[in-house]
């Protein structure tokens, strides 16, 4: 009971092997009668084409490698959700890898002969990607290139300058005059930080900055540092939601009431922000849309590999919840 092949289908339908192949490819050169006969034979035998053989013959796998740094970050999953339907519709099948546990993932994908590569979020090191991008069409989603990245690829990302601007404007409008930022590292961290300082300065307010990896722990540590200053800030913008949650914990530790005495804003609007017990005001970075556009971009790139690399920014949106309020009086 070996698997049926085009050979057995052809025999059963009383046609040649290549006719079966043409039917598989929906070729218009096949008469309706023969097509019906072949389809019937396929059905009777339970035939399913072997993608391995097809890939070898066609020289393309119809697979797209998706690399993200950390499956635990729900933001990545949002991007994935926007991306997946686009690939699916194009008959491409996503294959996922987490670079944190498999740093060589982009190269592995290249060896697998994927048709394209999408890198989601900021990777600690882009050099492997730079290498692979020379032979595989590649799109970066939800991250930005740094000045040192020798990489000429399409990029789709949230407009961080605007997102930070929205958050700062919200806080300024509430009346805050001492604002702090827990900044992340990497190109995105730098962009957000610069936008923060620019926006706060433009509002004539004071900007404090703490820096660290975008984790709960960083937020907690930064929170303690900021809140024990002689003149603590009345509002903090975190580099992401995890850091914001750390800030909230630090405030709780120190008996600082949020939002009465401290306003906190997160970034990315992940599911953690929406938890009732957290209710974090956060910048929705349009992850879903970033994913969708990255997919569209990759398809365009597959069509026209020679087109110049493109940078596309998606407008973010501020989601106001329970952690922001006017500063305490006096």
């Amino acid at each position: 009971m070996t698997r049926p092949t085009i050979r057995s289908v052809a025999a059963r339908a009383g046609v040649s092997k290549s006719l079966v192949s043409l039917v598989l490819q929906d070729s218009p050169k096949v008469s309706p009668e023969r097509r019906a006969a072949v389809l019937a034979a396929m059905d009777e035998l339970g035939y399913r084409p072997d993608p391995t053989a097809r890939s070898l013959a066609q020289g393309r796998t119809r697979a797209v490698g998706l690399v993200l740094d950390d499956l635990r970050n729900p933001w990545f999953v949002d991007v994935l959700e926007g991306l997946r339907p686009v690939l699916h519709e194009a008959g491409l099948r996503p294959v996922l890898a987490e670079s944190r546990s498999e740093p060589e993932a982009p190269r592995t994908f290249a060896d697998l002969r994927v048709d394209g590569l999408v890198v989601i979020g900021t990777l600690p090191d882009l050099s492997v990607v730079a290498d692979v991008a020379r032979s595989v069409p590649t799109v970066l989603a939800g991250t930005r290139l740094g000045p040192d990245d020798a990489l000429d690829v399409d990029v789709v990302a949230g407009d961080d300058a605007r997102g930070v601007g929205l958050a700062v404007e919200h806080l300024l409008a509430l009346g805050h005059r001492r604002l702090a930022h827990v900044a992340g590292t990497g190109p995105v961290g730098r962009l957000r930080r610069e936008a923060f300082e620019r926006a706060v300065r433009a509002g004539g307010a004071t900007a404090l900055v703490e820096v660290g990896p975008m984790t709960e722990d960083t937020g907690h540590r930064a929170g303690r540092a900021l809140l024990t200053r002689p003149e603590p800030p009345t509002a903090v913008l975190a580099s992401n939601d995890a850091a914001a949650v750390g800030l909230l914990a630090a405030a709780a530790d120190l008996g600082v009431d949020v939002p009465a005495r401290l306003s906190v804003v997160g970034y990315d609007d992940t599911s953690i922000a929406a938890l009732r017990a957290v209710a974090l005001t956060s910048v929705d970075n349009a992850a879903h849309e970033v994913g969708r556009l990255a997919g569209v971009r990759l398809l365009a790139r597959l069509e026209d590999p020679a087109a110049p690399a493109d940078l596309q920014l998606v407008a973010p949106r501020l989601v106001v919840r329970g952690t922001t309020a006017p500063p305490p009086r006096g």
Copy 2:
């Protein structure tokens, strides 16, 4: 500038095509000198074997399909982390799919000719898996078979009866006498619920039960229902951490202090439980170990497809944090 193949490598090394193939397979039949020559040629040409061609010739893909229901549930990611290294060491490459967004994933994997399949966590419907498991070696990780599942496959899961027992014993030891459980659906939900009722009864205490899908929302709703009863419980065990977080939110809404007036225990000990702002007492379901053992089980199954199906239970562990305490006096 076409990719190098064994053909070009052979030409460069001055040997035959098949000799190159033998080197690729680490065959002991190759003389050290020739092997060195071939390896040098590969290196000079930057040769990487084509896995597509290899799969077609060998009739195996060395890929393992991993199906999970929801990438957002961090518990799944923990299982993945335990599983991945085992597969990696065996030269198998994991391919991930989320059944929530791709219900046909198991069948897709079968069409791709994966060598094996691991189903992680509870799927809403196992019928597709049952179908695929007939032709593809399959292991279920972190879920249990229901009485109606016509499926004869290996299962590796946390020992839910024991885990629930640990939680209930903890609460009884603290002095609680009115315990509630927010039960989930499916085989796992049923197991946990039965274990809860058994353990509470054995302790001579009163057991209340609310049922619903394992979400924050269910926890929130159940919390309101339980806490507004004439005689509310003093402790609640949730079916998972998400539901427990919903419970915490309901308690906060109603001004019920946790843990002074209500103890809450979660299940799975996900990263949410460990957040400082949550500090949830939870049952560590040994997700990592479940993943590891599922991998080991799959390898054994690939070795011996005829072996009888096996059920393996992993001992859970209670992680006590800040949401449990003795009941209020009086």
